[in-house]
């Protein structure tokens, strides 16, 4: 039995396979999230259920059979789709669903809170995220880790953790910063540089980049290079749409606020969630 989806080298079969490690991971994640949203006001609980529930469902779909297995050992395009979902879609949804009461706990003066403020600083979170994205896409790292269950788990975990780190300064109200919308837009732009470069690299490479996908049993009738091109397109277009969408939301809400229009529920400026730093 396999605990986590990894590259096995076996011919692909549309036969369901159990991955208990994925279920345990999802149980732990869902348990932690339920703890975070428990005792919330009804409005916050509904918001948490909708956003957090969507994020958890997405993570589960991306990690479990068949998507998880296809992305781990057969199609680099599915691997790219997993990356987008785990690092760019699920983390902001998870963060946006956490109620204000929980954020307040992170605004205290404890050593843990102080350390957390350093890690969540944009100048730390942004470069750390880019480093994670770069490292987890290096051919030597991918080829070495994806053939092992623990290695594949580490890559998936790094994407979720890196995504939480990256989106934290944008979505989370703690620690409160005076960067403003323009600062956040610049942060988002800078944060998209590495994955954009990786997408272009995959699109333009004339040879397969990753041995694990090049040597995988064929599936889907398309060549490795075509699939790699699709992966580059997924990273390029999918990531671009998400980042530009987030930038557009920030910009138009900022422009609306400049016009005197109420900002509304802007991610990161939620009135109900705003917590003053000590």
């Amino acid at each position: 039995m396999s605990w986590w989806c990894s590259a096995t080298g076996q011919a692909w079969e549309w036969t369901w396979r159990a991955y208990p490690g994925v279920w345990l991971f999802m149980l732990a994640l869902a348990g932690g999230y339920l703890w975070a949203v428990q005792g919330s006001r009804p409005v916050e609980a509904r918001r948490g259920a909708l956003l957090g529930g969507s994020a958890l469902l997405l993570i589960w779909v991306l990690l479990d059979w068949p998507v998880g297995a296809l992305g781990a050992g057969y199609l680099v395009s599915v691997h790219a789709l997993q990356f987008l979902g785990l690092a760019f879609v699920a983390p902001p949804l998870l963060l946006a669903g956490i109620p204000a009461r929980r954020w307040a706990a992170l605004a205290g003066s404890t050593r843990a809170a102080a350390g957390f403020r350093i890690v969540a600083h944009p100048l730390v979170a942004g470069p750390a995220f880019n480093l994670i994205v770069l490292t987890t896409h290096l051919p030597s790292v991918v080829d070495d880790l994806m053939v092992r269950e623990l290695g594949a788990f580490l890559i998936d975990l790094a994407w979720v953790a890196g995504g939480l780190l990256f989106w934290w300064p944008i979505v989370a109200p703690v620690p409160a910063r005076a960067a403003g919308p323009l600062g956040k837009i610049a942060y988002l732009f800078a944060g998209s540089l590495i994955h954009t470069a990786l997408g272009i690299w995959l699109l333009l490479s004339r040879a397969p980049v990753y041995a694990v996908y090049e040597l995988a049993p064929p599936i889907g009738g398309r060549s490795v290079l075509v699939d790699q091109g699709i992966a580059g397109g997924v990273m390029e277009l999918g990531g671009g749409v998400i980042i530009i969408g987030a930038i557009a939301v920030l910009f138009f809400r900022w422009a609306g606020a400049e016009d005197g229009t109420p900002a509304g529920a802007v991610p990161g400026t939620l009135p109900a969630a705003r917590v003053r730093e000590p």
């Binding site: 004339r206 040879a207 397969p208 041995a211 090049e214 040597l215 064929p218 060549s223 490795v224 290079l225």
Partner: protein, 124 residues
């Protein structure tokens, strides 16, 4: 086969016109000539497929220095065949040059095939 085909597509014609890729089945009962042709055509119509009797195929494998394929007798319906997965390269001077194991990548082929081609042509 897919990687070999993709590598040959990237090499110059003066090299590839002299290259012959020959696939030899180790399961003649299921790999009929028609089936082999269909399978190879999916990669490259220039690829050549060979089959024979069990005895002939075993002799060929032994002659090539390979461990003969063995059928998994645990199942009669959907049996598996354990077989060598190397690609053996022979140059124009009829010498076997390199055994390429499973895991040989397209970049390896595009690097080595022109060298093998040149070696074979240069040989007396």
């Amino acid at each position: 086969m897919a990687n070999l085909a993709a590598a040959l597509d990237r090499l110059p014609l003066e090299v590839t016109r002299d290259v012959r890729v020959v696939f030899v089945t180790t399961d003649p009962a299921r790999d009929t000539p028609v089936r082999i042709r269909e399978w190879l055509d999916a990669y490259d119509p220039r690829f050549i497929g060979l089959t024979g009797t069990d005895e002939e195929l075993t002799s060929a494998q032994v002659a090539a220095g390979l461990v003969p394929a063995a059928r998994d007798s645990s199942s009669t319906a959907e049996y598996a065949v354990g077989h060598a997965a190397q690609v053996l390269s022979y140059t124009a001077d009829n010498l076997g040059r390199v055994h390429y194991p499973f895991g040989t990548r397209q970049t390896d082929w595009t690097h080595d095939i022109p060298l093998l081609h040149a070696v074979g042509r240069a040989a007396p």
